[in-house]
């Protein structure tokens, strides 16, 4: 008799456990407000990435097309994948001394792993991450970017004691023109 009882209690227990599961999916079926899907291309306007989002590397330019990069090459040294190449020139300044200025700051987006070592190690806070995330292109060569805008120059800071380095998210941002 015991085994017969177990037979029916098995059936009852099984059906009860199945019913519990059905209630979960049934609950969501009748509560469409809980839907979490985002309609991506339509919500492009409202879709705002977080300030710290590491989209792609940019060289921050201000409104007068000045940047802070002096072409020291520390970011290139620190990059683990060789995604940064710096081509620097030597140009005499007003005092007649040779000064190192940047010719091209080349950034291979296709090789970048977004480890942020370049941004962290930059001594003059020239680099930052933009929130751009739509990187898809049809030609791989387009992923190699020149970060300094044409005609841009290094901003000469008046000599003053070095300010403490601000955290990454407060680095001034500019729109990536390329």
């Amino acid at each position: 008799m015991n085994s017969v009882g177990k037979y029916f209690s098995d059936i009852f227990y099984g059906l009860k456990s199945l019913w519990k599961g059905l209630m979960v999916t049934g609950y969501y079926f009748v509560h469409p407000k809980q839907i979490v899907t985002q309609q991506y291309p339509e919500n492009r306007k409202e879709l705002k990435m977080f300030d710290r989002f590491k989209g792609e590397l940019i060289l921050a330019h201000d409104e007068n097309n000045f940047h802070h990069c002096n072409g020291c090459g520390i970011c290139q040294l620190n990059c683990p994948n060789g995604s940064i190449e710096i081509i620097a020139d030597s140009v005499p300044n007003e005092d007649g001394k040779a000064e190192r200025i940047i010719d091209k700051h080349i950034y291979h987006l296709s090789m970048c792993t977004f480890c942020a070592l370049c941004v962290k190690s930059c001594p003059s806070n020239a680099l930052a991450f933009s929130q751009e995330f739509e990187h898809a292109v049809f030609d791989r060569n387009k992923l190699t970017k020149v970060l300094n805008q044409p005609g841009s120059r290094i901003k000469k800071e008046p000599k003053e004691p070095k300010a403490p380095k601000p955290p990454i998210d407060t680095v001034p941002k500019s729109n990536p023109a390329n």
């Binding site: 059936i11 199945l18 599961g21 059905l22 979960v24 999916t25 049934g26 969501y28 079926f29 469409p32 809980q34 839907i35 979490v36 899907t37 309609q39």
Partner: protein, 363 residues
């Protein structure tokens, strides 16, 4: 031409008389066959496509998603776009596959479900044929489909496919029993195998209500067993995409795959409409005994809506099962059939026979 949404028999009879008056009897018969065939073909395509859409929407809502919503309003034309894509896809021929059987298999699956549709009464007077052994015919025809699945698995020359097909064979052979016995319970109640008679016998209440608890048990067993018979989750062992990638149709592509896909959904529709017809009264509106007022109110809703309402409800149940439960293992599947469903079913039939013999059910 008389047209009555509540009773199609006048319309069909009028067409019949019109054709026989205009043509010699042989030609009239052939024309009728062609018309019916065409209508069923169209119906098949539309229902098949929109069942896929329905399933995708239902599962999306259960999973906190919105489902297809890009093609047309609410994605209504999504499945049509899918069909066009499948039509244009290359039919890959498999090396060392048995070409003839490989090509025939999808057609067998689809023809089986095609034949079953013929006997379904959609509304009063709206059915292609009304066999006096309708239930038996449906059972017989719907089990042809498994031959297609077995052939597909065997002829693909793929090990995944073969395992899937063998699983399907074991599964269908076992579960046919339970499906048949569950249907038999209502046949005992109504005393007929003719679908139209079964429906007429439910004019004062559906069998699921009139037949007390045994009918409800039969209904539940029918739902479980028929879900297994049409290879749907949680009994989709023949496909089992996490184990066998796609089971018996792993090697199929393009429209041949679409046939399997469509066949699966049409089988679901057939099973659901059979359950609706036998247990829930088919197109018969909800009647309670001799409550004239209530019955009249219910009669205002046309039978075709009753029929589709019930069928969609049962299809929803089947979908609900699929998107909630994990898959069974093959030995558990057979245990469920031989240890639980079949004994319960046999005892149930014994009880029903006794009830009918003593006349204890609501007549």
């Amino acid at each position: 031409m008389p047209f009555n949404i509540y009773d199609f028999s006048g319309t069909t009879k009028a067409i019949d008389q019109f054709l026989y008056a205009k043509m010699p009897p042989t030609w009239a018969f052939i024309t009728e066959l062609a018309i019916v065939g065409l209508i069923i073909l169209l119906f098949y395509a539309v229902i098949g496509l929109y069942l896929v859409y329905l399933e995708r929407k239902v599962c999306a809502f259960m999973q906190n998603r919105v489902g297809p919503n890009r093609v047309g309003k609410w994605g209504l034309f999504q499945t049509i776009a899918d069909l066009i894509k499948l039509l244009m896809k290359e039919l890959i021929t498999i090396r060392k596959a048995d070409k003839l059987l490989f090509n025939i298999a999808p057609f067998i699956v689809i023809i089986a479900s095609f034949m079953a549709i013929a006997a379904i009464p959609f509304a009063k007077g709206l059915h292609a044929v009304d066999f006096n052994i309708g239930v038996f015919y449906m059972m017989a025809v719907s089990s042809i489909g498994v031959i297609g699945i077995l052939l597909a698995g065997w002829s693909s020359n793929s090990k995944y496919s073969l395992i899937g097909a063998m699983r399907s064979g074991a599964q269908v052979v076992s579960y046919e029993l339970s499906v048949g016995l569950a249907l038999l319970s209502v046949v005992i109640f109504s005393g007929s195998m003719q679908l139209s008679t079964i429906i007429e016998s439910q004019a004062n209440g559906w069998w699921i209500f009139k037949g007390h608890i045994p009918a409800i048990i039969s209904f539940v067993i029918f739902l479980i067993a028929s879900t297994a018979e049409i290879n749907r989750g949680p009994f989709d062992l023949a496909e089992a995409e996490s184990e066998l990638t796609a089971g018996f149709h792993t090697e199929y592509s393009g429209i041949r795959f679409a046939f399997f896909f469509l066949g699966e959904y049409m089988n679901m529709f057939i099973v659901a409409s059979l359950a609706a017809t036998v247990f829930l009264g088919g197109w018969m509106p909800l009647h309670i005994g001799n409550l004239q007022g209530f019955n009249h109110v219910m009669d205002f809703i046309p039978p075709i809506f009753w029929y589709f309402g019930k069928t969609i409800f049962i299809m929803y149940l089947i979908m609900w099962f699929k998107w909630t439960f994990p898959r069974l293992r093959i030995d558990q599947l057979l245990t469920l059939e031989w240890k639980y469903l079949l004994p319960i079913n046999l005892v149930n039939i014994l009880i029903i026979s006794f009830i009918v013999l003593m006349g204890w059910y609501i007549k």
